[in-house]
């Protein structure tokens, strides 16, 4: 297609931009209706259990409660999701629960608090069943059966076995066989707006109106009508702004159907908004999977066969699993030239949250496996890894073993360009230490056939009274600018400016059917429909004007919004006048991806009309001290046909790359016994702005004949090769290969330090013997025993029933409030921990006393010998204090690494010291030692303990993660604590009890921190390692040295986040006294800090980390002295 474009290829800002940037855009969270009820959902606490009995009587009697529903109140129907043969999920649990977080009951009440209270009052009698959490274990013949699915092996939802081209013969003929096993966990979409819905049922008309953030109104309407047994004609999904999708809003709509049911029963509007924890528990995440990839390679490097065996963790119910299996298969043999391809894939049920279709649908990780193997093949052949890829890349005209016909394809150009832009050939022989460059590529169907029954889109165009055009589409714009792109298409086709075109998305009554925004399909499929509709619009307008003017339609011109007949001024009309004279009207067209479907049994045959390609190069730097991987630069080179809106497309690429960085290095939902324990935005580490590298994008346009104006798809393209490119760069930087995603700093550090043994010497602390013995008894005896005992006699959490709030005017007032009898009173300073803890149930209070602005407790006073810091001084006030920065730079620098600007602006120094433990078992509500007392076990002993203590942990392994604690300890600070009788001073070394609790009594308040002023030559440094600076530390160390000439005369070393309390490394301190701090003295002292540690199963890396950080901090001290 050779033509000049007016708007195609132009950067167009989002149509909705001004509304969004001013906070005027209306999301589901922002909607209210007169008489609206608030819904809340009761979720299963068990991974697998039979529901014996549900008692709703107490909940029904609660104030404000309108209706309560359970699974059996719905018709006995299952979501259709991936097709009737896979339908296995009711709208709410019936008879059995199959994952933690499954919806069991729901309440609608006048206020959100009343709904929550009523949900807590529902009593359910469960018979707990054995659960299976691992897709491999679930296939064992004696594994607990999650469903009864006849005709398939145990817990298998689908098998996908194929052999294209004779895989056995290929392996028999191979010169080299390269193989590897790869695995990854569950990644969550983390839309900033959580799922939810407003449902408005009108009992008079039977109409159900729904506002919900969904990518697919078409399916919401169909599924809600079906599971509630409503006439689809009565169900209308309405238009609303959507706060992110990424696949997380594209499947069966549980909160929506529940809101609809509540509204139907109550006859009133009902709104349900999931909180962040619910979003993690029940949202549609990626699937976990394990992949075994084998490649058969000829001596000349030809890949003559590849076999991929994989198990996909489907979770409890089938949503997008079958499509996911297919998406994974597609990436194994269609990108590079492969002779024969074999698959053996299984979709396996586990008692975990159901997998959805998070961006990329499994492609990023299978591409990581394949691209790792491509590197390894190149290494085996002694070939350059980029040149080899270019040599074996698919080209236009190729047919793949799966029967895909590659039409337009710029893969080789993409690879070469990515190499050029990252500077591969210049850099490869002179890479600095700890740096690496990695490559990866990808293929994406444009657009993959979503459903066997069709892949279609419809678009409408209305001519409105005012002469404006309104484009209607059901493909919901989640922020990707697709509304803007559709307006560009229509404007281009009709020779209008995009400003003359409005777009209404989602509304199922006002806009025609469309499968929705998923699988990168909108630009391609809906875009083709928009062009077709625009042509029809022109034809209809011309037809009407031809009648009006009695002239041949073919002779009417339409340009710049003006219709005209020759130069006749009487027959020249703009759209507003046209609307007045020929009437407003609507045209609607349907576009089908019209092509033969792949063989339903084997999956052989084309999966899309065309395919998009892309290559990436990533450059990383690894910090050998911590294992931290910094992504420095990512180059994205894409063949996406033609670029329609470079601004929007770049945005898709950038977002995909950074999500891919998260997937490669940090993100994973961590489970304990089926409970997601990092279900928060602090513990689940989605990338922050600090993680953003330089990203360079380039497009090689191929002008695809099947695409709208030559465009292909793009939404998922950039995430797909990102983890692979990064992993390959990490491999080059470290010389190590990693077979599990994410590749965490801990993994890297362990690999780098594999050969170095540390003098941990656990025996030097006699109590370690006791602890080691207890830990040995944990799996079989102690854990199950204490769990049972704790459940019977342990302290129970107090339900959060609200609390009073007081803001005293002075310290005396505060102490009076604290001393009131029979009241549980909590002091609140910044409140950033306390309020969250109250909501989580880790604190209980009748009353909260807010001391944040008591002048007695604020301010920094520099005295002659002592600096007195008021307890309620905020972290920001401390970090901004210039005198303090000069005297104790470690205090200012260290505190600047606490949390975020917003938190530092209110959180206080005393609050940091006194914050409650961050253990993810404790914070997730486990009935553990810390929560329930001595009769309860510590969950960290057997659970994922990567963040826990490596030393000094007895009954509780939660570490002290207050950054101020090691710093103040190393500065020999004291804490001033007051009660009604007076003040006492407690040195930091005595401030925490062995278990990490503070010595502050319930009737006391911390009033100040006193830090000695430096009186001799001194140096200091604080080193911390965490997911990002503001995150809670995995390890930190504060080193404070006093000097005489070039010798250390006194040393203070205090360790953070490795023990329940800040630990002074006294033997190292002694060793340093009198030392000249030579390299060997530094290392020797650093290694001493770990003596006596007793790490748990997953946190051995912390021993290396704390030693390395200590070494680094000592060197920094030495550098300061120099």
């Amino acid at each position: 297609m050779n033509r000049e474009f007016q708007f195609v290829g132009m950067p167009r800002p989002q149509i909705e931009g001004p509304d969004k940037v001013t906070g005027r855009a209306v999301y589901t969270h922002d909607l209210t209706r007169p008489g609206m009820l608030h819904g809340a959902v009761l979720r299963s606490p068990h991974a697998h259990a039979r529901i014996r009995q549900i008692d709703l009587s107490a909940a029904r009697a609660m104030p404000g409660v309108a209706v309560v529903v359970v699974g059996t109140d719905f018709p006995d129907r299952r979501y259709v999701n991936a097709g009737p043969q896979y339908a296995d999920r009711h709208a709410m649990a019936r008879g059995k629960v199959r994952f933690v977080g499954e919806e069991v009951a729901a309440v609608a009440a006048e206020t959100s608090a009343q709904a929550q209270a009523a949900v807590s009052a529902i009593s359910i009698d469960y018979e707990v069943l054995p659960a299976v959490l691992d897709a491999e274990a679930a296939q064992a013949a004696d594994a607990p059966a999650i469903h009864d699915k006849p005709g398939l092996p145990r817990n298998v939802a689908q098998e996908s076995i194929a052999d294209f081209g004779g895989i056995d013969a290929a392996f028999a003929a191979a010169t080299h066989i390269v193989e590897g096993t790869f695995e990854h966990g569950i990644v969550a979409p983390v839309c900033l707006e959580t799922n939810g819905a407003l449902a408005v049922f009108d009992p008079q008309t039977g109409n159900m109106d729904i506002w919900a953030p969904t990518q697919a109104p078409f399916f919401v309407r169909k599924e809600v009508a079906y599971v509630l047994d409503l006439d689809p004609e009565h169900v209308r999904v309405r238009s609303v702004a959507i706060g992110g999708g990424f696949g997380g809003k594209s499947q069966s709509p549980e909160p929506i159907a529940i809101a609809a049911m509540l509204s139907k029963l109550a006859g009133r509007p009902v709104r349900i908004l999931l909180n962040r924890q619910e979003e993690f528990l029940s949202g549609k995440s990626d699937h976990a999977k394990k992949m075994r990839v084998r490649s058969a390679v000829a001596a000349d490097g030809t890949i003559i066969g590849r076999h991929t065996e994989f198990w996909v963790d489907n979770g409890a119910y089938t949503h997008m699993g079958p499509a996911y299996i297919s998406a994974v298969r597609q990436r194994t043999c269609n990108l590079y030239r492969v002779g024969a391809a074999g698959f053996d894939g299984k979709l396996v049920h586990t008692n975990k949250v159901s997998g959805g279709s998070y961006r990329g649908m499994g492609a990023p990780q299978i591409i990581w496996a394949i691209e790792t193997q491509m590197d390894e093949i190149a290494e085996k052949l002694g070939r350059d890894k980029l040149d080899y890829r270019i040599e074996v890349a698919n080209r236009a005209g190729d047919q793949t073993p799966q029967g895909w016909n590659i039409s337009t394809c710029a893969l080789t150009e993409c690879l070469a360009e990515a190499g050029r832009r990252i500077g591969w050939h210049e850099k490869k022989n002179s890479m600095p230490l700890n740096r690496g460059i990695g490559f990866a590529a990808m293929i994406n169907p444009s657009v993959g056939l979503l459903y066997a029954e069709g892949n279609f889109a419809c678009v409408s165009i209305d001519l409105k009274d005012d002469g404006r055009l309104r484009v209607g589409t059901q493909s919901a714009d989640c922020g990707t600018s697709q509304n803007t792109v559709l307006a560009q298409f229509v404007a281009e086709e009709l020779n209008l400016t995009p400003d003359q075109v409005d777009v209404l998305h989602m509304d199922t009554k006002e806009t025609p059917a469309d499968l929705g925004s998923a699988a990168s399909r909108v630009t391609f499929v809906s875009g083709n429909a928009a062009i077709k509709t625009a042509k029809a619009f022109r034809a209809e307008l011309t037809r009407r004007l031809a009648c009006l003017w009695s002239v041949p339609a073919d002779d009417i011109m339409f340009a710049d919004g003006i219709s005209s007949f020759g130069t006749d001024n009487a027959r020249r009309i703009d759209l507003a006048d046209a609307a007045a004279q020929v009437g407003t009207f609507r045209v609607e067209e349907r576009y089908d991806v019209d092509m033969p479907r792949p063989d339903p049994k084997t999956g052989y045959g084309d999966y899309a009309a065309t395919y998009g390609f892309g290559a990436q190069a990533a450059e990383v730097e690894v910090d050998p001290t911590t294992g931290h991987v910094s992504v420095l630069k990512v180059v994205v080179v894409q063949d996406i046909g033609r670029v329609i809106n470079p601004l929007a497309l770049d945005g898709q690429m950038h977002g995909g790359v950074v999500q891919g960085i998260g997937m490669a290095l940090r993100e994973e939902v961590v489970f304990d016994g089926g409970v997601p324990i990092n279900a928060s935005l602090i513990t689940y580490r989605a990338p922050r702005i600090i993680d953003t590298p330089v990203i360079e994008t380039a497009y090689i346009e191929t002008d695809d004949p099947s695409g709208p104006y030559g465009a292909k798809a793009g939404g998922e393209h950039a995430i797909n090769p990102t983890p692979a490119a990064i992993a390959n760069a990490v491999a080059q930087a470290t010389g190590k290969r990693f077979r599990k995603l994410p590749i965490t700093a801990a993994d890297v550090l362990c690999a780098l330090e594999e050969e170095r043994s540390l003098p941990i010497k656990p025996w030097i602390r006699p109590y370690n013997m006791e602890i080691a013995t207890a830990r040995a008894l944990y799996p079989k005896i102690l854990f199950p025993g204490l769990k049972k005992l704790g459940a019977a006699v342990g302290r129970k959490p107090r339900p959060a029933n609200g609390h009073d709030y007081e803001r005293p005017s002075d310290l005396e007032d505060a102490l009076v409030a604290l001393g009131r009898p029979n009241r549980k009173v909590k002091i609140m300073a910044g409140g950033t921990d306390l309020q969250v803890g109250l909501r989580q149930g880790v604190y209980a209070a009748d009353s909260v006393v807010d001391i944040s602005d008591l002048s007695d407790l604020k301010g920094i006073m520099i005295g002659d010998g002592v600096i007195r810091i008021g307890a309620a001084t905020t972290i920001s006030e401390l970090t901004e204090h210039e005198d303090l920065l000069r005297m104790h730079p470690m205090l200012s620098d260290g505190l600047a690494k606490i949390a975020t600007r917003q938190i530092r602006n209110v959180a206080t120094i005393a609050g940091d010291l006194a914050q409650e433990k961050r253990c993810w078992f404790f914070r997730s509500g486990a009935q553990c030692y810390k929560a329930g007392g001595v009769s309860c076990p510590c969950y960290a002993v057997l659970g994922d303990n990567r963040h826990h203590s490596v030393m000094g942990a007895g009954r509780c392994a939660a570490p002290c993660v207050a950054d101020a604690a090691p710093i103040l300890t190393a500065l020999d600070a004291s804490v001033v604590i007051a009660d009604y009788a007076g003040e006492r001073r407690v040195p930091m070394t005595n401030f925490y009890r062995w278990s990490g609790e503070t010595v502050v009594a319930t009737n006391e308040i911390i009033t100040a921190i006193e830090v000695p002023r430096p009186n001799v030559a001194h140096t200091q440094a604080f080193e911390k390692h965490a997911g990002w600076d503001g995150d809670f530390a995995d390890a930190s160390v504060a080193v404070h040295l006093a000097w005489q000439e070039d010798r250390v005369i006194k040393a203070r070393i205090s360790l953070g986040a490795v023990a329940p309390l800040p630990v002074r490394a006294k033997s190292a301190e002694r060793a340093l006294a009198g030392s000249w701090l030579t390299d060997s003295a530094v290392r020797a002292a650093a290694e001493m800090v770990i003596a006596g540690a007793l790490p748990l199963s997953d946190n051995g890396y912390k021993c290396n980390l704390i030693v390395n950080l200590t070494e680094r901090a000592l060197r920094k001290n030495r550098d300061q002295r120099a």
Binding site: H29, G479, H654, R688, I689
Partner: protein, 161 residues
């Protein structure tokens, strides 16, 4: 001493607002549900995502972690105090023009964090911008165009004739 149980008066966007509601109610809910200022979004309710960022006495805070009792007697600024769709604040205009956001849910909070930064430090460097935005989670953009737009705004403002 007599303590007022309820009825905080808070200055919101220059107007004194009084409401008889629970002092423990988070400021974010007060703004959204009582004052109908729904530009302030709630992404987590626990101070982890920054979507609810507002200014309190000129500093960026997570309004989900400010109990109403504490907001009493203070000045609050929300996204509604900036431009409107027909007359954008120049920083808002540049965020739109540069494609600095996609879904828009984090954007009001990002705007308020940037405003707090620029009012205390009119010419921050990129590292300072990153530090100021560390508490604002965005899942759509990868922060690339957000940084680009912000740095462009700072540069252009510094080079006004």
């Amino acid at each position: 001493m007599v303590k007022p149980l309820v009825g905080p008066s808070i200055e919101v966007n220059g107007e004194l607002r009084v409401a008889d509601v629970d002092s423990t109610m988070p400021l974010a809910l007060f703004l959204r549900d009582v004052l109908n200022l729904r530009g302030t979004k709630i992404g987590c309710g626990n101070g982890e995502c920054g979507a609810c960022t507002v200014l309190m006495d000129g500093r960026a805070v997570c309004s989900c972690l400010i109990p109403l009792g504490r907001a009493r007697g203070r000045k609050i600024r929300t996204i509604e105090s900036l431009g409107n769709p027909k007359a954008l604040h120049p920083l808002q205009a540049i965020l739109v023009e540069k494609g600095a956001f996609q879904c828009g849910f984090c954007t009001p909070g990002v705007m308020m964090s940037l405003l707090a930064l620029l009012e205390s430090n009119p010419v921050p460097d990129e590292a300072e911008v990153r530090t100021a935005l560390q508490g604002n989670l965005c899942r759509c953009t990868g922060y690339v165009k957000l940084l680009e737009a912000t740095m462009t705004y700072i540069w252009e403002r510094g080079h006004e004739p």
